[in-house]
Structure formats: C-alpha cells, structure tokens
Amino acid sequence: MSTTVDILLLSVAMAAASGFIGSFAVMKRMALAADPLSHVALPGIGVALALHINPMIGAAAMLVFGALLVWALEDRARAATETVIGVVFSAALAVGSITTSGEDLIDALFGATGSLGRGELAFGIAMASAIIAFIVISRNSLIVAFVSPDVARTAGVNVRRLDFFYLEAFALTIALGLRFLGVLLMGALIIVPAASGRRLAGSLSAMLQITVTISVTSTLIGTWIGLYLRRQTGPLIVLVATGIFLLSLLPLPFSARRRSQVTASR
C-alpha cells in the first residue's frame, strides 16, 4: 500500500528530474515540443488499460517510441519536422481519447495519484536518478552542442547520439510525471519552472539550481493543496509553478540578471 510519504518521495524525484531536463529544453527551444510529445502517451495508456497491464508501462513505451520518431525526423528540414510533430502527435491525442474512456481518460489527461506499489516507487526513483545523472554527466556536451553542434563535433561530442539520449531522457521524464500531472500538464512542469530559471539565472549552475528548486517546491505545494482540498494535484502543481513564473517577471533589484545588465551597459 502506498503512503503519503511514498507519493511525496516519488513526486520530489520526478520534479527534480523534470527541472534538470527542462533547463536544457527551454534553452534548446524545445518548449513547444514538450506538449505534443507528452500527448503520445495517451494511446499507450489506452492500449495498456485494454490489455489490463499497468498504464504507465504503456505510456512509457509510447513515449520512448515518440522520442525516437522526433529524433529520426530532426535530421530533416526544421519546418517539416514541426509540421510532422504537430500532425502525428495531435493525432495520437485523438486516437488515445477514443481508446481510453470515462474516468480513465480524465485521470490520464490530468493525472491521478491513486495507489502506488513499492515496485513502482523504487523504479520511479531509479529512473529519476538516472535522468539526473545523465544531465549532470553530459552537461558539458549539452552546453557545447547547444551553442554550436559543429563546434561540439570538433570537440569530440557525438551530437546525434547526445540528441538521442537527451530526447529519450526527456520522454522518460514525461512518463515519470504522468501519474501526477497527466498527459496535458506534464509538459508544463518541464517548461514553466525552467522558464523562471532562465529569467532569474546568470549562469548554468544557477539556472539548474533555481529551476530544480522551483520545480520541487511547486510540486510539493501543489500536492499538499491537492491532498488538503481533495482535488487533482496536477493542475494545482502547474498553477503554483505558473504563479512563481509570474513573480519572476517582476523586476528584482538584486537579481543576477539585473547586475549583468548594469555591467553590460557600462
């Protein structure tokens, strides 16, 4: 049986992984890809429910496949990729809505904590740790490949392979968060805290720290309000994260960004 502590543990691990992945997603201008990619989980959930297997397994399998598809298409023209992502992944949402029905659909779209097995808890935490480890280990390659893939290649980075692993880590992060936020909102948890982090930070390590802190804080506060009000936690988590983002838009006299602007204008 799951306890509140188990659920909090897993959601903190998920939020931390999402902060690490999201920091690079907003820099790589992948903000708009997060949503359609998360939609692809829905048909997986539908099929898994029909076959009476854990819906998270179905979702994860579809997400891993979806990331592979994006990766394979990335080599082609940019505009074409975006069109294909828009069409294929929205179609996935439509197919998924038909194959999943009633309460299951609502849970899949917005997240439902439900009961959490020990195995799932352990697996979730292991996956979150693996995602965080991947970002920490690959951050140098990711920075350089982000600034210029050509330059990265001459520095010995296998850019295509790095892209593949990043996209799969991204997809697995979505899979991790589905239980809490659902297909429609998980993309938001990856992007919104990182958008605040990007505004407030003046260096990469600051960005990672700020984003992860905001992501975990939003998840904890959202989950707590959800349990208290007996409401779905997903929308609350996203609302808290969005509130923090709005606050980050306020001019902060002592923020690093402000300082760097002052030095820049000299």
Partner: protein, 231 residues
C-alpha cells in the same frame, strides 16, 4: 612532406543544388591556407564538410593525430541564455581532459578580460563572443584551426591580436590553419596558399600568383580593386 589534410574530388550538394564540385587540394603541416571567394560560393560549406558535419562525396583525409579547433561564423544566440563564456570554456576543458590548456592565459592572449567571460554569452558583443569562440578552439590544444571569418565583427586591435596569435602559433608550434577571409591584404600577408572558389573552376596556389586582377575578376565575376604589395 605528408599533408595534414588531403581533399580529393570533394563535392557537396543540397537536394538538386551543387554547392561544391570536384574540389581537390592538400594542406601541409604549418601551412596557412586562405579560402577566398564571393558570398554563397560554398566556403563555409567546405569547412563544414571537412569536419564531417554535412554529407559529401569524394575523400577528406586528415593525418592521424589531428586535433581540430573550429571557429564558426557568427552564431545566432538568444540574449537571455544563462550560459556564461566561462561555462562554455570550462565545458571545453572538461571535454578535453588532460589536453586542455589554461583558460585565463588564452583569454589574456586574445585580449579578452576575465570579467567579460563571466557574463552570459548572449549579452556579449559580436567581437567579444567571437573571441570566446576562438578561445574555445584554442583551449582544446588543436594542431589544426579552421576559422570561418574569424575577425568578422572584431575591432581593429582585436583583429590584429587574433591574426598575430594564429601567426605566432604557426611559427612556434607548427599549427596549421585554414581560414576564410574577405580581406585580401590579410590573405596576402599571412597565407601560404590560397584556395579560391566561386565563379569558374576553383584555383589553388600561393597568394603571389593567385591574387592577380585577372584571377580575382574571374573569381568574383566583377572587377576587384586589389593589388599585391610586397610582403
């Protein structure tokens, strides 16, 4: 002498458009090869093919042990990217492992203050970021530099420093460099050989024989006011 780079029958095409055709040349250790030609002739495409970033036909052969430092042409970055110049340079150090050179001494040689490198790269001026890119290439201790208009956007003293630094590395460490330039006086002053691509068939040879009004007119398809002065 064994060449550092041997290119034979290199051709690049995007869909149906031929960018480069039947290009053959070689570069010896310690050479400075200038690549000149009009805009759109495929100079940047050539460098990108040489580093294996785009598909091509023909052969590109680098000597064993070649370590390339590549300085791309102007990059388009968002202003609010929270990566500082130092983040970027330290990433190169981490990737290079033991080979990495000292960041601060390279920045000093390029005339870029450390405070500037501490700022987010999106807030740097074109010339400052260009020097960060050159520093990035040098930190990896390269023996070959590929420079795509390295001094574009750099102020006069900065340009002088960069040219002198590359020249010094060439003399002291036998560094080989391939550089794209539109400044024919710089090409004439530093280049060992010139490769020209543009209108007509490509030409290759020392600047003295290539930088003539006739070749330049053929290359650019128009009259070019340039005369070779004594070195």
């Amino acid at each position: 002498m064994n060449p550092v780079l041997k290119v034979e029958k290199l051709a690049v095409q995007f869909e149906a458009i031929h960018i480069l055709n039947d290009l053959s040349f070689s570069v010896n250790k310690g050479d400075l090869l200038a690549i000149i030609g009009p805009n759109g002739a495929g100079k940047t495409v050539l460098l990108r093919a040489l580093i294996g970033s785009i598909p091509f036909s023909g052969t590109v052969e680098w000597a064993p042990g070649t370590r390339i430092g590549y300085v791309p042409q102007k990059l388009d970055l968002d202003r609010d990217i929270p990566i500082t110049g130092l983040d970027f340079l330290r990433a190169r150090v981490a990737l290079a492992g033991k080979r990495a050179l000292d960041i601060s001494s390279i920045l000093m040689q390029l005339g870029l203050p450390l405070e500037v490198a501490r700022r987010p790269i999106g807030t740097l001026s074109g010339g400052q970021f260009q020097r960060i890119l050159i520093a990035f290439a040098l930190v990896g201790d390269p023996n070959v530099l590929l420079l795509d208009e390295p001094t574009a956007g750099v102020d006069e003293p900065g340009e002088e420093r960069i040219n002198e630094l590359v020249h010094r590395l060439q003399l002291s460490q036998g560094l080989t460099a391939l550089f794209i330039s539109h400044e024919l006086s710089i090409v004439n002053r530093y280049a060992t050989n010139v490769l020209c691509i543009g209108h007509g068939s490509p030409c290759f040879g020392p600047p003295r024989t290539l930088l003539t009004p006739e070749t330049l007119r053929d290359l650019y398809g128009t009259e070019v006011k340039y005369h070779v002065h004594d070195r």
